[in-house]
């Protein structure tokens, strides 16, 4: 079956989720990925939104993470202070999804500024919840198109921490979460090696290593156990297209 780049990324991200995971969900593709996982292999996934919603069961695809459809029929709603303390800082969140304008070799993310902070060339939205999600969720995943400008060797501004300059630096910093576990792109999947450097560990069917290397801003290393991902299945695509995003806002 034909599929779009967004469908490919969403399906591969969904497969990284485990049944019973408590997931801090963002809008867009992460939201689609979580809902897809819940309808397939992870029926007990608990979706948490930074707006203070726990166990949402959205009846429609929300544009924002504060949509009323997330509230009606949810398990619990609490204040934002509670979400960030009782849930995230306390260690009750298994998975966080992150995004940003730049992701570097060690999975550090920039969502704040291109250029200097005081005189930005481009002012981006800023951290929102991501500084703490990146630090404290047990596992973090990143979904992003694979483009050289999005993957610089070093980000202009560290909005949220990956492995800093290497895994030991994160360990020394003493943050509780495990850091980024995978970056899902439209070409394949990057994962941290033992030093926290993102290396190519999987390619989607039909993609060449050279494509991934050419679209990465650092000298991308390739795992000696490089895998090929499974194509999105018919049922996965049906759920995405018919149930989750029938008007194709995100998956087109």
């Amino acid at each position: 079956m034909e599929h779009t780049a967004s469908e490919l990324m969403t399906v591969n991200a969904a497969r990284l989720l485990r049944d019973g995971d408590v997931v801090f969900v963002g809008v867009g593709l992460p939201n689609l990925a979580c809902n897809l996982a819940r309808r397939t292999h992870a029926p007990n996934l608990v979706m948490i939104y930074e707006a203070g919603v726990i166990g949402a069961r959205p009846a429609r695809l929300p544009l924002s993470i504060g949509d009323p459809t997330l509230v009606s029929g949810a398990l619990s709603v609490c204040s934002m202070y509670d979400i960030f303390t009782l849930y995230l800082q306390r260690g009750n969140v298994d998975v966080g999804f992150l995004g940003g304008a730049q992701i570097d070799k060690f999975g550090n993310i920039n969502a704040t500024v291109i250029g200097p902070y005081d005189h930005p060339k481009v002012r981006l939205p800023g951290s929102g919840g991501s500084q703490e999600i990146a630090a404290w969720a047990n596992r973090c995943y990143i979904i992003t198109p694979h483009q050289k400008r999005r993957f610089p060797e070093k980000v202009d501004f560290r909005t949220s921490a990956g492995f800093l300059s290497g895994k030991t630096e994160r360990q020394v910093a003493g943050v509780r979460g495990g850091g980024p576990q995978a970056v899902v792109t439209d070409l394949g999947i990057l994962e941290p090696d033992e030093n926290g450097e993102l290396i190519l560990t999987a390619l989607h069917p039909g993609v060449a290593v050279e494509q991934a290397v050419a679209n990465t801003g650092w000298a991308l290393r390739v795992s000696d156990q490089l895998k090929i991902t499974e194509l999105p299945g018919e049922e996965e695509l049906r759920i995405l297209r018919e149930e989750l995003d029938p008007t194709g806002i995100y998956i087109k």
Partner: protein, 300 residues
């Protein structure tokens, strides 16, 4: 002891040029009508604080109300940039005081609690801390480790929209709570806008639902549909179409000024604004009821 007055009176009496204003609400219950009223009354040099400035502050900045912004996520949620804010910040015309969401909310929690600061665990991402002298370190007296500290925020005025309140300002909220309670207690003054003004007995029938006690409230305004294009849980839907439309409008400064002329300066108040939106929008935002299960407090 009624505190009931019009929103125009409340803004005129309690919001002054140069004030720090916090119009509360995370996506939910954003008091757009109060933002528009501040624009109509020509407030200047405000410090605008909100975790997510959202369209309300994009509009107020476009109208020239602000000199500084305190925030943690400057985006049009699910859509993209807040173009006006972004342009003003890139041009260096708007002062910036920036945090993560947790940092911002912690500032409010400290302010609401009467504490000078509150600690947060470190995140290993230090660039923002190095750019903002308000973010400091504090030593945990048990382990000797460094934690992050942010200072209490005390807005001069909080504007809080709620589902229902009595004339004394005792107010109930359900759905997304965001930082409503924390802002109300952190601020020096509270202006309350409510979808419905109810009898005190309605409030007293469900005390666990009351987020804000009347005695910290300065003014109570009956403002139905106050939150549009944001929403009020159970009352009307979020106008996602307008959030997408604003992304287009705000591409052009002229279009923005024309929009302000038509929808803010050109209407007297939020009722006229709502009326002007018309039947198609009203219908699109209508919500069918879905009631909470009954709760029995017992007659003791």
């Amino acid at each position: 002891m009624t505190k009931l007055c019009s929103l125009a009176e409340a803004v005129s009496q309690h919001v002054h040029d140069g004030d720090c204003v916090y119009a509360a609400g995370f996506t939910h219950l954003i008091p757009f009508a109060a933002g528009h009223e501040m624009i109509r009354q020509g407030r200047k040099n405000l410090t605008l604080a909100r975790a997510t400035p959202d369209l309300i502050y994009d509009q107020m900045v476009a109208a020239g109300c602000a000199r500084k912004i305190i925030f943690s996520y400057m985006g049009n949620p699910g859509v993209g940039s807040l173009r006006i804010l972004r342009t003003e910040v890139e041009a260096g015309r708007l002062e910036v005081d920036e945090y993560s969401h947790f940092g911002m909310i912690t500032r409010l929690q400290a302010g609401a609690s009467g504490l000078p600061f509150l600690p947060m665990n470190p995140t290993a991402a230090v660039d923002l801390e190095q750019s903002n002298p308000n973010i400091r370190r504090v030593i945990d007296p048990y382990s000797g480790r460094e934690l992050i500290a942010v200072p209490a925020l005390h807005p001069d005025v909080a504007i809080i929209h709620v589902q229902r309140a009595d004339v004394n300002g005792n107010a109930q909220i359900w759905g997304i709570l965001g930082e409503q309670k924390e802002v109300a207690f952190a601020a020096r003054k509270v202006i309350l806008t409510a979808e419905e003004i109810v009898e005190e007995d309605v409030i007293r029938s469900d005390p666990n639902r009351t987020m804000i006690p009347g005695f910290i409230v300065s003014a109570v305004c009956h403002v139905p549909y106050c939150a549009h294009p944001s929403y009020t849980q159970g009352y009307y839907d979020r106008d996602n179409a307008f959030y997408l439309e604003w992304d287009k409008i705000s591409e052009s400064p002229d279009a923005v000024q024309a929009w302000l002329q038509e929808w803010v300066y050109g209407v007297r108040d939020s009722l006229e604004y709502w009326d002007k939106l018309g039947a198609e929008v009203h219908n699109r935002l209508k919500v069918n009821p879905r009631l909470a299960s009954p709760v029995n407090y017992g007659d003791y």
